[in-house]
């Protein structure tokens, strides 16, 4: 059934594309040079950085937007061939792209091309002389790994696709470009493995991208909010990453990656909750270590979301559960605090968020100072002043640290936000409220979908086979099938890769 559905939808889509193209404006060039130049100048609102170089004593002109072009390239691509004498006319330079449509010339000017026009000639030659400023493909600061590749995406979409293509040398890797944003004309690309990615997911992605009707699309953050399933959910439904290896791994699981010009972040869909807890490091270390670290990370979810709430519920409702030997230390530390535990917790959480927010924007030496002043001085003074008990400081500090353990920044902020409702619930209803809070979160996670794929897979719906790479990480050769959540068209990922072992053993015996 799915196949027919795809087939049907594809047809529809193709039709629309043709109709879109027919709408593109056309303006045939004239034989009059000054008319042509005039048209282009007007089209670009007589912007003053549009340079018009008059050549051949007024019979020809070379136009380009000066900030966009590289002067060396202009010299090399356009004037050098003439000077050497290889060609007679600039029109004859083979690298030129020709058109007679002035609208197209305007667009290529905006892309950083130079346009050559001659009097008495309708031909318009366009030369790619764009200047590109790229930073090097450094490791992203927010997704560092100990072992593994240390390159990261940059702001140029072509470089990014290059990084991915270098890692997947296969004909099935397909790139589709979209122009999004009516004014910004941002280049957005989706990448997927044809024959592996679920066509329905790809189709959904395409549909949603095409549906964007906005003047500007600045970054994947914009795109994300336009295309994600539940924009009002606190959980991110697309995985953000700046790491090529992560994108490649997800493409090979049959997911779709989305890049956009001008941003090093790529979005991966469909995403599941547990993907946010997988880090490239897990696969680069031994699997015992990977498993251990991942379990710690998942425990950090519970701590980050529930620990302050649990503590508050205990000290304001159910202090019977404190172990006998802890009674005195806990009691002595909270005995003389002026405020109820809820206020304590909220104050402390806000202090930590303030320190964090202040630290991010500041240059790193100052940021460190803020960290020390905030963390040590305020933390210590607040306890001495009797505003906040030292156990609460421990609880909140542990919570903050746990929230930073998540490899994904988006989920980390989500976790910190989720703490607040749980604190309020447990402060009003105790354990009952806490359990209800967790229940709501669990229900929400189970209900959530990302591009038609269950978000909480493989836990709900439960699929034991896929748990191999969820709470634990099995050795890679044992993960023979791709996880089912992304609906890959081909499940088999790894065949018998360790047959040599059996062979060796049989030889010995």
């Amino acid at each position: 059934m799915g196949f027919f559905k795809d087939f049907f939808h594809k047809d529809q889509r193709a039709d629309r594309r043709i109709s879109d193209e027919s709408q593109e404006p056309k303006q045939p060039s004239t034989r009059n040079l000054s008319n042509n130049i005039d048209y282009i100048l007007n089209a670009l609102k007589r912007t003053e950085d549009l340079k018009v170089r008059i050549l051949k004593k007024g019979d020809a002109a070379l136009l380009y937007i000066e900030p966009l072009v590289d002067q060396d390239k202009v010299q090399m691509n356009i004037f050098n061939p003439i000077e050497i004498g290889r060609v007679d006319s600039i029109h004859d330079i083979p690298s030129a792209k020709e058109t007679t449509n002035l609208e197209e010339a305007v667009n290529s000017l905006l892309r950083g091309h130079a346009v050559y026009l001659e009097d008495e000639n309708r031909r318009v030659s366009q030369f790619s002389v764009t200047s590109v400023f790229n930073r090097s493909v450094e490791e992203p600061a927010n997704e560092k790994v100990v072992r593994g590749s240390h390159d990261g995406f940059v702001e140029n979409i072509m470089v990014n696709i290059n990084l991915v293509r270098k890692r997947i040398e296969h004909r099935d890797l397909k790139v589709k470009f979209f122009k999004v944003g009516k004014k910004t004309n941002t280049n957005v690309a989706i990448l997927y493995m044809e024959g592996l990615a679920d066509p329905e997911v790809v189709l959904k992605m395409e549909e949603r991208l095409e549906a964007i009707d906005s003047d500007k699309v600045q970054s994947p953050g914009y795109v994300e909010e336009f295309v994600e399933d539940s924009a009002f959910s606190p959980f991110p439904q697309m995985l953000n990453t700046e790491r090529p290896d992560r994108v490649v791994a997800n493409l090979m699981e049959g997911r779709v990656a989305l890049f956009s010009e001008g941003s090093p972040t790529s979005l991966i869909a469909p995403a599941t909750f547990f993907m946010f807890y997988q880090a490239p490091d897990d696969y680069n270390t031994r699997w015992y270590t990977g498993t251990f670290v991942r379990l710690i990370r998942l425990a950090s979810f519970l701590i980050a979301v529930g620990l302050p709430a649990l503590y508050i519920a205990i000290v304001s409702f159910h202090f019977e559960v404190i172990p006998d030997d802890l009674i005195t230390p806990v009691k002595s530390s909270i005995n003389e605090i002026a405020y109820p535990p809820v206020v304590e917790a909220l104050v402390m959480v806000i202090i930590i968020e303030l320190i964090r927010e202040a630290g991010i924007r500041l240059p790193s030496p100052v940021g460190q100072t803020i960290g020390i002043v905030g963390g040590l001085v305020i933390g210590d003074a607040v306890v001495r002043a009797g505003l906040i008990s030292n156990i609460m400081v421990i609880v909140i500090a542990l919570t903050a640290i746990s929230s930073f353990v998540v490899p994904s920044n988006e989920l980390s902020t989500t976790l910190r936000l989720l703490t607040f409702p749980l604190i309020c619930l447990s402060a009003t209803l105790g354990f009952v409220g806490l359990i209800f809070g967790f229940l709501f979160i669990a229900v929400h996670l189970t209900k959530l979908e990302s591009f038609g794929v269950p978000y909480f897979a493989p836990v709900a719906p439960l699929r034991l086979k896929d748990l191999k790479d969820t709470f634990v990480r099995f050795p890679i050769f044992m993960m023979k099938n791709r996880p089912k959540d992304a609906h890959p068209m081909d499940y088999k990922a790894i065949g018998e890769s360790r047959e040599w072992k059996k062979n060796e053993q049989s030889k010995k015996s």
Partner: protein, 371 residues
């Protein structure tokens, strides 16, 4: 409508909040509670309330407040104590409950009623009978030990580890308290005037819901526990096995490694016979006489030890019968397996008549790393 219901939910959460709150910092915890018989048929409740301050920096400063009041019931007394202290009185982290001897000789269920009825009370607390008054034990301040509750709790834990008590708490006693044909023992402590210390002095034998006044001494308590089939972390028995000039040479100390107890109950119409046999595999931990070289010496010791222990077991059982305290739950067994016999007899009068046949066999298996 949607907005209104949202508003209602939010206000229900915010406005009703804290209604049920019981702030931990606003309670005074009574960690140990003592109950005594008071004058004019009233009862006296004594509590020790620690107040700690200086959490965070420096050493904890702890002051203990000991209050007592006469009242009709436990809660009545608590109400009176509550009037004397700042914040509110809370017994839900009580660690030990002490009963004065005189009070325990009466029915103990009425004073425990509140502890079982209230869901907040700590049923994990230990119940102890004090020779003398509970108040005196609570007022005792041992050197080094900060709190009396900690002291008593530690003492009872030690006693449990050394198999001197069953280690039962309020919850576990509850069933035995109300069950017919089953009695229990409670740890007994007394204030030692000479050493100025509290001391575990044995097991108080309960008959029904009353303390009989009889006790098993602390030395014999481990044997009773073994007969009951309970062993803590270790059991150590020191017994006299010889008659020499020098006293120290007469004794042997053994540790029970493995034990096997077996009880056979043969009820008939007019008499009930109970065979109890207890096999002990022991390790010699102290034998000042030394020279455990030959098989014969060990054989003799086995024999002697078995004799001594058998005699002691008989002594214990006669004491149990005297006190009419059925700690082996023989009555319950008969009730369960021989209901027709049970119906025909009155267990309370029958129990002292039961014929016990006791046999203890000790066998030395190890004698440490020297001969």
């Amino acid at each position: 409508m949607k907005k209104l219901s949202l508003l209602l939910i939010i206000s229900a959460l915010i406005l009703s909040g804290c209604w049920d709150q019981r702030q931990f910092k606003n309670v005074k915890l009574a960690l140990s509670i003592g109950l005594d018989e008071g004058s004019n048929g009233q009862m006296t409740e004594t509590v020790s309330i620690p107040t700690v301050r200086g959490g965070g920096e420096g050493p904890l400063e702890e002051t203990v407040q000991i209050l007592s009041s006469d009242a009709h019931t436990v809660l009545d007394a608590r109400d009176k104590i509550d009037r004397m202290i700042s914040h509110s009185f809370n017994p839900s982290k009580m660690e030990v409950l002490l009963l004065g001897e005189d009070l325990a000789k009466k029915d103990i269920y009425p004073v425990l009623d509140n502890f079982y009825r209230n869901p907040n009370s700590n049923l994990n607390a230990k119940l102890v009978i004090v020779e003398g008054t509970a108040r005196k034990a609570l007022e005792f301040r041992g050197a080094g030990e900060m709190r009396i509750s900690e002291y008593l709790n530690g003492m009872l834990e030690g006693a449990e580890a050394a198999s001197r008590t069953t280690g039962e708490n309020l919850q576990m006693i509850c069933a035995e308290l109300v069950e017919e044909g089953e009695d229990f023992t409670l740890p007994l402590i007394k204030f030692d005037e000479e050493e100025v210390a509290l001391e575990f002095s044995g097991l108080a034998l309960m008959s029904g819901e009353k303390y009989t006044g009889e006790k098993i001494s602390a030395e014999q308590a481990p044997l009773l526990m073994l007969l009951k089939g309970i062993k803590g972390r270790f059991v150590q028995l020191t017994r006299k096995v010889d008659d020499n000039e020098e006293e120290i040479l007469d004794y042997i100390t053994v540790e029970v490694m493995k034990f096997n107890d077996d009880m056979k109950i043969n009820p008939s119409k007019d008499e009930i016979k109970v065979d109890i046999s207890l096999d002990l595999d022991v390790r010699v931990t102290e034998y000042p006489h030394d020279h455990l070289v030959s098989e014969k010496v060990i054989e003799d010791l086995n024999k002697k030890l078995s004799e001594v222990l058998t005699a002691e077991a008989e002594q214990i059982i006669s004491k149990l019968q005297e006190a009419n305290s059925d700690v082996f739950s023989i009555g319950r067994h008969i009730h369960a397996y021989h209901p027709d016999v049970w119906k025909q007899m009155d267990w309370k009068t029958m129990y002292p008549e039961v014929q016990f046949n006791t046999e203890v066999n000790a066998e030395i298996q190890q004698h440490g790393i020297v001969n």
